[in-house]
């Protein structure tokens, strides 16, 4: 072992993490090396000065602490509106919205409003919000979209 290696081993000795053979080898070195003995001694003094044992916490204190934390958890859960909860968004809200959009699109596409000669004015008003959508929604055989928009009633 070289001297630098002994320095590595000193740290592990202090932490009780040396194997038996390593500990015996280091002990023999320490018998002969005052510098390493002094280093180990200084580390102990530094540790004693810088680190204090954690304050003793009783079981009652931990029980009280747990009650405080659980109360905060419940309070945060109660404050969140039900309809924001992720489980709702995942489980039913998104599928419901998707189904609604599909139903609305189908209704627009197959709405039978209007007579043979022209569209229902409510259909025209709805479709007038989007001419390109109207071209898609109006079934084949009906008046073409341009003529539909031309028949919008006067206000």
């Amino acid at each position: 072992m070289n001297h630098e290696h002994y320095r590595d081993a000193l740290s592990a000795l202090r932490d009780g993490e040396l194997k038996e053979t390593e500990r015996r080898d280091l002990a023999a070195h320490l018998d002969a090396c005052g510098e390493c003995r002094e280093t180990l001694d200084r580390w102990s003094k530094i540790s004693g000065a810088l680190f204090r044992p954690a304050s003793k916490i009783t079981k009652d204190q931990s029980s009280r602490f747990a009650r405080v934390v659980m109360a905060r958890i419940r309070q945060e859960a109660d404050e969140a509106p039900a309809w924001w909860r992720v489980w709702a968004l995942d489980r039913w809200l998104v599928p419901a919205l998707s189904a609604g959009v599909v139903a609305a699109a189908l209704a627009i596409a197959f709405y039978p409003g209007g007579g043979a000669d022209g569209p229902a004015w409510d259909e025209v008003l709805l479709l007038s919000q989007c001419r390109s959508l109207a071209k898609w929604c109006v079934p084949p055989g009906r008046a073409n979209v341009d003529s539909l928009f031309a028949q919008t009633p006067e206000n």
Binding site: D8, S11, D15, E17, R42, A54, M70
Partner: protein, 192 residues
Amino acid sequence: MTQTTTDADLVRRVSAGEQDAYAALIERHHANVQGLCGSILGDPTSAEDAAQEVFLKAYKSLGNFQGDSSFGTWIYRIASNHCLDTVRSRSRRKTESLEALVEGDSAELASLFCGGRRDEAAQENADLAQRLLSRLPEDYRVTLILREVQGLSYEELAETMGCSLDAVKARLRRARSSLDAATRHFFEPGNV
């Protein structure tokens, strides 16, 4: 809940919706977590507040707990990250080096290392110790605190810090060597 109920069992029960099982986890790990927070923050009052935040964060993140480490080391990781974030947010200004601190506070450090513990100076010594430790790189500081105050083994340290055993050994050795190099003159004959 019996003493033989493991942390893993309690985590499973919380995940299944049994909220009160989390209270048992808190009681088991409260002392260690608050102790770690106190060591990093250097302030007992802040330690309890920080410990509350840590357990709240852990509750919200329980879905991410895979069980590949123990609950204890997992929550230690949350606690050390939370406390380091707190320390960083407190100190935005550039801090002096370890050597500059030792030079600037030489008399106080001599009292800390050689003067014995006087009750009236206890808080000053605690503050000074905290300032000295804060000059170490964060990973070195947290590893050293977890080892010296919490008594974690090298394996537990590696799990908590998310690093190898060799990295743990290197950090401890370098942290101790840095502190030793900066403060050894306080221990020379004539100063002690």
